[in-house]
């Protein structure tokens, strides 16, 4: 079993390498490069899915024991890979989403034919899948950091793919800077561990927290939260995310939002549950608090967006927040010694990880198809696309229902598990910290409601009513590969929603490895038809049952209609349009208008500002020109990042005095340094 898994994983990695090489080789022939590059990426993704599902189903703790890939020329530098259950789970995430996006890309990148080098794009895409997989299966620090850094660099390359745009270039630079901040934090954190472990292999890091002083552990924890938090996009370290994700090509956006930010989650789970040892209360509490804030703020900012891809990017922040709520609660339960609840919360977090990966990638692919058809990301210029892009609209609707945590789809299942763990949390401790659990639950409920409102807006404004622009009027359905790519993810969303008990079995080895418990038996009732909330007083839910109920209830109104309504006389009259001559797109609800009530309720946060300039000849009611502008303050940018930025610049200006440009001064610096070092050595 282990042998075949190893072969399969090796094969997966080599397929990605082949995809890179093939795409580069055929870059002169765009169609061939596309077919070879993304075809091989899809094959690699499929192999990865088979590998990870089979390993997880086999239920072993360690599928692949540490293997040295390559011993570098520098002594001590070795690149080691290993795959335990946690790695396999995240490989499943990247492979599944990678598979769907590759198929989608086969159709999507045709839009770049003759404009951009598709070969390079396919090559970088394969490379991204490769290094992301390597991040998840890294067995020592060298492998991890190299893969981590390559991932950031390749992603930067993809963010700046359409570098002709000034906006894109700036977004790329911001992404670059933030990526390196996070790499620096992660590196420092790992160095604290490496110092104590005396080595760089992850095997030597396991449980190393026990040999660290509490202060060292806390420092390491904070560094990791910053490092992995930037990657994951938690508030207030999120500012790069809504800037960088939208400007990348849509297939890359889907990969970044679906998978790349999950590397931050992977890092946090790996470090907090395995390396740093038994967590103090405040770790879990702070993760829960950060998660709650990210979830609420993420969805609130998403509501205000009318750029479809930025809206989705903000939802990534929200969902990362929900995942962190699960992880934070899990750490708190570990501290209080409730291992079963810790497992439940961890399962909730991980389940939401794969759920978010599927539905967010699905939504980004949908946005890509819409962008492809309308050449705009601005929702105010869309509308009426449901008639023109039937399948895309259907897939987007499924994704929207899933992300809004509505039954019976997958978002509901994982948020339900999160609720269960949070609701149980109140009784686990007597300190005031327990108030965080119901508070977190309430905020999660608020988040869910706001997300639903946001996707009513996103779907309604984009797909319903009449087209608001010529672009939208001339929109066309996406090509077949694009639809298949979206269909794969839609099927995944439906499967994860309807059959959670089947999927939960795959998470058993992870919780066994990290918390020492297997929960799928306890979570499953009635032969896998019903999901239960572990404890006796916990709730139960069955998405399958809800679906069946929908199915059974559907005939009731139909029967009522058949009996009563058909007897009544039917009169066909035009839709009520307030007596206007005809309905025009000008009368439609706009995205900005739809979100206005919430903008007013949360105006302390958004700080909306609007300007109306009216020019008129004789009466203000008959304006000749009207100019309307509305702005919202980007609070994090103006209140946190910009002051820090200015502070740094001011400091560097002061330091410039040292760099006087005079040779004598430099000689003196060297001399003083030398003397100081000599004194120090004495």
């Amino acid at each position: 079993m282990m042998e075949s898994s190893a072969i399969l994983l090796t094969f997966t990695l080599w397929v990605y390498v082949a995809g890179m090489a093939g795409a580069l080789l055929f870059q002169r022939a765009e169609r061939l490069a596309n077919a070879v590059g993304f075809g091989l990426a899809a094959l690699g993704g499929a192999c990865g899915v088979v590998f990870s599902v089979s390993s997880l189903a086999a239920g072993q703790g360690m599928t692949i024991t540490p293997v040295t890939l390559w011993s570098g020329p520098i002594p001590g530098v070795r690149f080691v890979v290993e795959a335990d259950a946690l790695s396999c789970f995240f490989v499943l995430v990247v492979s599944l989403v990678g598979l769907a996006i590759s198929v989608f890309s086969l159709g999507y990148v045709r839009t770049y034919y003759g404009r951009k080098n598709v070969g390079v794009m396919a090559c970088v895409f394969n490379a991204l899948l490769l290094v992301t997989t390597l991040v998840f299966i890294a067995g020592n620090l060298w492998m991890f950091l190299i893969a981590w850094e390559l991932m950031a660099l390749l992603a930067y390359g993809m963010v700046s793919f359409e570098h002709e745009d000034r906006e894109t270039r700036q977004a790329g630079v911001l992404f670059f800077i933030m990526s390196h901040l996070d790499a620096a934090c992660v590196l420092l954190g790992f160095l604290v561990l490496a110092q104590a472990a005396g080595g760089f292999s992850f095997a030597s890091f396991r449980g190393i927290g026990a040999s660290l002083s509490p202060q060292q552990r806390d420092v390491a924890f904070v560094l990791f939260v910053f490092g992995f938090g930037i990657k994951a996009g938690i508030v207030p370290l999120h500012i790069w995310l809504p800037v960088a994700h939208p400007v990348a090509p849509s297939n890359i956006s889907a990969l970044m939002s679906g998978v790349l930010i999950k590397t931050g989650i992977y890092g946090l789970v790996r470090v907090c549950f395995e390396f740093l040892g038994p967590p103090p209360m405040w770790w879990g509490a702070s993760l829960l608090a950060v998660g709650t804030v990210s979830a609420v703020l993420g969805v609130l900012y998403a509501l205000m967006e009318h750029d479809l891809k930025r809206l989705l990017a903000y939802h990534s922040i929200e969902n990362i927040g929900i995942i962190l709520m699960g992880l934070g609660a899990s750490l708190m339960f570990l501290h209080t010694g409730h291992a079963v609840l810790a497992s439940l919360a961890l399962i909730a977090g991980l389940y939401h990880t794969i759920n978010h990966a599927t539905f967010k990638a699905l939504l980004f692919l949908g946005a890509g198809a819409v962008l492809h058809a309308t050449h705009t990301r601005n929702m105010e210029e869309m509308g009426g696309l449901a008639k023109r892009m039937r399948w895309t609209a259907l897939f987007f609707l499924v994704g929207a229902v899933a992300i809004s945590a509505l039954p019976p789809l997958n978002g509901f299942v994982s948020e339900w598990l999160t609720y269960q763990s949070l609701l149980h949390g109140f009784g686990t401790t007597t300190s005031l910290v327990r108030l965080m659990f119901p508070l977190g639950g309430a905020m999660l409920a608020l988040t869910g409601a706001l997300a639903a409102a946001c996707f009513v807006k996103a779907f309604g404004i984009t797909f319903l009513a009449q087209p608001r622009s010529d672009h939208a009027r001339d929109a066309h359905e996406a090509s077949l590969p694009m639809l298949i790519g979206q269909g794969v993810l839609t099927a995944a969303c439906v499967f994860l929603g309807l059959f959670p008990t089947v999927f939960l079995k795959l998470l058993d080895p992870i919780t066994l490895q990290l918390t020492g418990h297997q929960l799928s038996q306890q979570l499953t009732m009635a032969n896998g038809l019903v999901l239960s909330g572990v404890a006796a007083q916990g709730g139960t839910v069955s998405t399958l049952g809800i679906m069946l109920m929908f199915g059974c209830l559907l005939p009731v109104p139909l029967a009522l209609w058949a009996v009563f309504a058909r007897k009544a006389r039917t009169r066909i009259a035009p839709t009520w349009d307030c007596g206007q001559r005809a309905l025009t797109p000008h009368m439609e609800y706009t995205a900005t208008g739809f979100s206005k009530p919430l903008r007013m309720i949360f105006k302390a946060l958004f700080r909306p500002r609007r300007e109306v300039q009216r020019e008129y000849d004789f009466s203000p009611y008959f304006a000749t020109t009207l100019r309307f502008e509305s702005h919202m303050e980007e609070v994090f940018l103006t209140r946190i990042y910009r002051p820090v930025n200015y502070g740094l610049l001011r400091l560097s200006r002061r330091l410039r005095a040292l760099q006087a440009g005079s040779l004598q001064a430099y000689l003196i610096y060297i001399f003083v340094t030398l003397v100081a070092l000599l004194l120090f050595a004495l």
Binding site: A573, P574, W576, G579, Q580, R581
Partner: protein
């Protein structure tokens, strides 16, 4: 505090809704003489003073027949009452003048000295609307006088809601239309669409001289001479504007909510 002050003030003032229709109806103002009455027997066959003085041509004098006064067109200026030498046209001081048929508003013939008041809706419609009637108001180029007097019915003094009658914001929620104004060409499409949007069965109420016959705008090329040109009207409430009491009386009469006998008095 504003809320507290308002509530206290309301409590102090007590119930201000009028006793009508259980108690007596409030008196009409002095200047409002109520419905007109035409006693054709008194009319001087050679006299035509009222015909020339009427600003809306509401009074006709067919050859060999007594004077005919169309209360639907009348704006109640009472010039005819003043000029009539034989006191054939008089003011009754009666607020009741809503009718179901257009011809019931024409006074003059023997036994047609006064308006023939509206009959209630048939049993089926009364079962549907009798205790809950939702109306959509359409101002089809009205001057806002009829609208204002309709609006008065919503105040605490009149409290139309106690009869289950309410004005709603969309015809899709309504049981009928209450139309004011002479129906200009510009409002024709809107009125037709509004009517089409009201679910069946539905009723139409024309309020004011304009909505009944075009009022002072009668014969104008940009107007339709009232609602009847476009829609079937179920209740005519004359006046320029009608007193709120007249409108309320008409609505209650239509719903069969007044105990007194209807028809010719």
């Amino acid at each position: 505090m504003f809320v507290q002050d308002t509530l206290l003030n309301r409590l102090k003032r007590g119930c201000e809704t009028m006793a009508y229709p259980k108690g007596a109806a409030p008196a009409l103002p002095d200047r409002h003489g109520g419905a007109l009455r035409v006693d054709a027997a008194r009319c001087d066959a050679k006299c035509g003073a009222c015909v020339t003085v009427c600003p809306t041509e509401a009074i006709a004098r067919p050859a060999g027949k007594p004077v005919a006064l169309d209360l639907g067109r009348c704006i109640f200026c009472a010039e005819c009452v003043t000029v009539c030498p034989t006191k054939a046209i008089t003011r009754t001081g009666d607020h009741r003048m809503a009718v179901r048929r257009r011809e019931d508003l024409v006074l003059g013939d023997a036994s047609k000295e006064q308006v023939r008041l509206a009959q209630a809706l048939d049993e089926k419609l009364r079962r549907l609307f009798g205790r809950s009637l939702r109306l959509r108001q359409v101002s089809a180029a009205g001057c806002n006088a009829c609208e204002a007097d309709t609006n008065v019915l919503g105040t605490i003094g009149w409290d139309l809601g106690r009869f289950g009658i309410q004005f709603v914001a969309s015809p899709r929620h309504a049981d009928g239309l209450l139309i004011t104004g002479p129906v200009s060409k510009n409002m024709e499409l809107a009125l037709k669409k509004t009517y089409a949007a009201v679910p069946d069965p539905k009723i139409v109420i024309a309020v004011g001289a304009c909505a009944i016959a075009g009022g002072p705008f009668i014969g104008h090329p940009q107007h339709h001479n009232g609602t009847s040109a476009l829609l079937p009207v179920d209740l005519y409430i004359p006046g320029c504007p009608p007193h709120p009491l007249t409108i309320l009386d008409g609505l209650l009469r239509l719903l069969g909510r007044l105990d007194e006998p209807t028809g010719i008095r």
